[in-house]
Every structure is written in structure tokens, then in C-alpha cells.
Symmetry: C2
Subunit: 302 residues, 2 copies
DNA sequence: ATTTCTTTTGTCTAAAAGACAATAATTTGG
DNA sequence: CCAAATTATTGTCTTTTAGACAAAAGAAAT
């Protein structure tokens, strides 16, 4: 018995709720559908569908089996497609999803270079801080902070996501420069609001974490707006190193307390991750993009 | 073409490195193996194997494809087996893995009851705080603290894992009872050592987290030992509510600062989770156990 | 009760996998 | 360096299995 065929028929029948429409979808007579599904059921020793000439419904077990089988068929098709496209030149549309600020500051400058290398790849970039799932949306690669989410998703750590305290020279001139971590509590603070509330400032001493958050003057989930406030001297903020590197060079911002172990969470594994579905690494356009990013970002910083 | 059959042949050839041995494994002539794999390769438009009459090796793409296909075949077989065993009575060996202290305090008392209900199920329980993976080890259900790890693993939150500060009456008599969260810093503390260092005592006020850890007198990763120290009046400890409930009832321990939002981490989603692979919910012995635990644990506490 | 739509069953045909022998190719051993 | 041995492929036939088509059976709607 060709189980794969039977499974495809079964899924179609479950979707459409009809043997006939499944049959037309596959351009075979309904009798074929009926026979294959009967075979499948007898091989499993269970009825997956209750057919009452007019209405086809899934049994309880059929529902559970369908869900699992659909997932498996999708995975297999993805693998097949990846292999089929393996030997072609890198080309076509490449859908990239990235965090907003990372995209603006790090990614865009690199993409010109990438486009020159692979002119046949059309880049489709969406910037968002929502973590859209790779599986459902048709995103080829995503760049996110945090950790690896799922086993089927492959995650490459591009760089650490080190948060450092920074402030503008103007602010420090009026409010003074903190010399000790605990002094931060007396300063003005600009906070990024995460889904779990504003990120605190945490100070680690001997495996002990102390909250040394300053007095909040601005709390926002918009990184650009926060950065603007910081540049205008409204207070101290914890910002990813990569996002403020240009300002540190130009002197518009100053890094504080470089000897102190400050962070915005207790997890040391935080980083910027490049995410993609494993089978897609076989697709040339995806492969060259991943290799390009790894080449250009990892060597610099890790 | 029966792709599923071709894939099984392909995997066997890749494993054994030989068409003939794959053929004997399936009790078919080698020519069949050769033909099926040739079909598969032509349908994919790629060579998966390099055959030089004496040696069969995987191509680069063959390696990647093999890995994905093996995973898919395992999943499919798991689903099929689950469905096949669906209608049988709950029986056989049920492998359970649980955190040590949860197993001792909560699980064991319930299992007598469970065994009486399903005498044909042989329980095989291993207690460990290591998080062994459900996929590789043949564990049917696992109970762990933390969050859901993977998409293919189904996680049911059995109860919140609420940590509360407790101390023995003897300790409180000599050291006094803290009336305010910040007073904890002046008390003796018993700390559980996680892989990321001792769990701090955190106090939440207006979305701000403050570390109010006491002076460490004992740090250990052994929950039973810590509990013993607590009962002997060595200091205050943050312990999961379920682990100290009996002592609170008997008066051997006293809950402190019940009005204060204390925790050992900043994540509100922490809980005790029941974990299992989705297809296994169709296996009767697994299904009745999961239903039993949900019935007996969730209604009490959630 | 009859019509209509849908699944199943029976029978034949077509396609695809298996069996077996023969061939080609490459490594091993003398 | 050549012959023997092992292994994958190819050719041909047989068997199995899926598809096609007509007819039958069953359930709902008019």
C-alpha cells in the first residue's frame, strides 16, 4: 500500500468533508479515494472517518491523526522542495524579518553589499518587533533577540545582545557621572517596556542580583523614541551595544560603569539570533544569505 | 511512485552503506532497492548517493535530506503506532519522569490510587532534576518546572510553581518575624542553587524588582537537605508552596509576608508542567495517566 | 415516496514494484 | 598485474496494486 498517497487522500477528504470533491481535486474517481482510505483504516485497525452517505466526519482518533499527519506531510514537502531547488543558482524572492532597530542600524548597510553579490535575489524585508512564527508566515529567515524557540528552527547566535548603560554628556554634566552601580538608583532612567513590564536595571555581585533601576522619566516600547530621549539628555538608559556604537564613537553618548556587571535580565544566553527552518538551508538563496550574515556579523563580535 | 517506500529504502542504504544489505533487511532483491532509489533521485532531480560499485556514500545534499527524512519517518511511525494501540485497554509499561521532590511529595501518594484504577499498567518512575528529553529517552510523560520547551511537545500546566518565604517557629522566635519585604535582607537565608547560581529573593513593587536576598547561611542544590535546614531553624527559605504545605498545616513551618509579591524570578509563567509527545496522547495508558493527573492536580490548585 | 447526491462494490485495465538472471564495474588477493 | 569476488545496474517476466468505469446501495431533501 502506498501509505503516503492514502494519507494525502485522507487529508483532502478531511478538509473538504467529501470523497467526491477530494477525488476531483486529485483527478481520480471517487472509488480510488474510498479504496485507499479503506486500506489505510484497515492497516491502522481503526476507523478514521464516519461516513453516512451524505456526511463525512472525522472520528475522535481521526482528528488527532489528521493533525499529526498534516504536519508530517508539510515537513516532507518542504524537504522535497528544498532538495529540488538545491542545484539552482541563488535567485528569487527572499523574505527577511528583523527587529526594527537592528534592521535599521546593522542590516540595511549590509544589504547593499549582498544585493551586489547576488543581483538575482529580490529582498523582501519586514521590520517588526513582533515575533512572527517562521512556520506559518512565509518568512525565510528571521532575526530576533532572545533564545532559540523550537527544535525544528535552527538558530545561529550572530552576536551577544549585551546591554550597557549610556547617557549623553549633557546629562552627565548636570546630574553627575555614577561611579558605583548602586548610585544608578538616584538617577533618571529611560526604560524599554517589554511585554512583561519595563526592563529593570540589574546589578550582579557574587551571583546575587540587585535591582538598581533609576527613577523612571520615560517608559516606552519604541526604541527609536527612547534613543532620542537619551540623546537629548533626559536620563540614563540600558541599550544594546550594537545600537549605540555609532553614538559612542561620535561622543553623543557615553558608556557608564564599564567595570560593572549590569544587565536587564538574569539570563546570560541572550543574543541576537538568526533563525530559519532547517530544510530551507538547502535552498540556495537562503543558504547564501545565512552564510553572508554569519560571515559579516559573527567574525566581528563573537 | 511509492515515495514512502523509497524513503525507507534510502534511509536503510544510508545507514548500512550498501544496497545489498538494505535489500536483505527488507527481504527484496537488490534490484528493487536500486530502482526505487533511482526513482526517488529522478523525482528530486538530484543524486542523493554516490555509488562506486564497492562503496556507497551520501552526497552533501543527501546528508541533509537523510536527516530530515529520518525525523519524518520516526514521527509518522509514532503516529501510526499510537493510532493502532488506541482502542486497546490501558495496559503495559508507563515510563514517568519527575522532579525529585515533586515526585516524593505529590506524585507518590497519587500513584497508589492510580494503580488501583488501572492494575494492568506497570509504572516505571524515575526521579531526576535533569531535564531528559522526551524524544530520545523513551519517557512517556515527564513533569518539570519551567515552561514548554518545544512545539512537538505538549505541555499542560498542572499548577503554578509559586515560591513563598517560610521559616520555622524556632527561627522566628530568636530572629524575629519580618514585617516588610526589605527586612528580609537582614535575615539568614537558605538558597537553592540553580545552574545559574543561587535563586535570589525578588520583591516586586510597581513593576520594579528589588533583590531582597538574606544573608546566605546554606546554599545547596539538594531540596531535601535545604528543607531539613529550614525545619531546624537555620533561616528563611523560598520554597514552592506544594513542597511545604504539609509543614504549614502541622505548624513546623510558617509562611511569611503573605501580602507581599515575592518571587525567585521575574517570570510569571513559571509552573509545574506535564509534558508528553502529542501522538502519545492516543495511547490509552498515557491518556488515562494524563487525564488522571489533570483531574487530581489541576482542580485543586488552578 | 421519489429524486438526488454520495459512498461503496464489482470487474477490468494500466501501472508499478518484485523476482531472477545476466551484465558491468571496481576492489581484493594471489 | 591479472583473476576472483563482490556489488550495483539493466533486462525481462511475473505479481501486486492503484485507477477507470459502471452499477448498486444508502441516506437526505423535496
Amino acid at each position: 500500500m502506498d501509505q503516503l498517497l492514502a494519507l494525502k487522500y485522507f487529508c483532502k477528504v478531511a478538509e473538504t468533508g467529501s470523497f467526491t470533491s477530494a477525488a476531483t481535486a486529485f483527478s481520480v474517481p471517487p472509488s480510488s479515494i474510498s479504496r485507499r482510505i479503506a486500506d489505510l483504516e484497515s492497516s491502522l485497525g481503526t476507523h478514521l472517518l464516519t461516513r453516512s452517505t451524505r456526511v463525512v466526519k472525522l472520528t475522535e482518533i481521526g482528528i488527532a491523526y489528521l493533525e499529526q499527519v498534516q504536519e508530517i506531510l508539510v515537513q516532507l514537502e518542504l524537504s522535497n522542495e528544498s532538495v529540488r531547488s538545491y542545484q539552482s543558482r541563488p535567485m528569487g524572492q527572499l523574505k527577511i524579518s528583523s527587529m526594527v532597530s537592528f534592521g535599521e542600524r546593522i542590516l540595511f548597510p549590509l544589504l547593499d553589499q549582498f544585493s551586489a553579490l547576488y543581483p538575482d535575489i529580490t529582498l523582501d524585508i519586514s521590520l517588526s518587533d513582533e515575533l512572527s512564527s517562521l512556520a506559518n508566515d512565509d518568512i525565510d529567515v528571521a532575526i530576533r533577540g532572545g533564545y532559540a524557540p523550537d527544535e525544528r528552527i535552527h538558530a545561529i547566535k550572530l552576536m551577544p545582545n549585551e546591554f550597557i548603560p549610556v547617557a549623553s554628556p549633557a546629562y552627565l554634566a548636570t546630574m553627575g557621572t555614577p561611579e558605583d552601580g548602586f548610585e544608578l538608583r538616584n538617577h533618571h532612567g529611560l526604560f524599554f517596556r517589554t511585554p512583561r513590564g519595563p526592563s529593570p536595571w540589574l546589578l550582579e555581585i557574587d551571583d546575587q542580583w540587585h535591582d538598581v533601576s533609576g527613577q523612571p522619566v520615560v517608559i516606552s516600547n519604541n526604541a527609536n523614541w527612547l534613543m532620542k530621549q537619551g540623546l537629548e539628555g533626559k536620563g540614563i538608559m540600558m541599550a544594546p551595544r550594537w545600537s549605540v556604537e555609532a553614538y559612542l564613537m561620535s561622543g553623543e553618548l557615553v558608556e557608564l560603569l564599564t567595570d560593572t556587571a549590569l544587565s536587564v535580565n538574569q539570563n546570560p544566553g541572550m543574543g541576537i539570533y538568526l533563525l530559519y527552518q532547517k530544510p530551507k538551508y538547502l535552498v540556495p538563496k537562503v543558504k547564501v544569505f545565512i552564510d553572508f550574515l554569519v560571515e559579516n556579523l559573527m567574525e566581528k563580535r563573537d
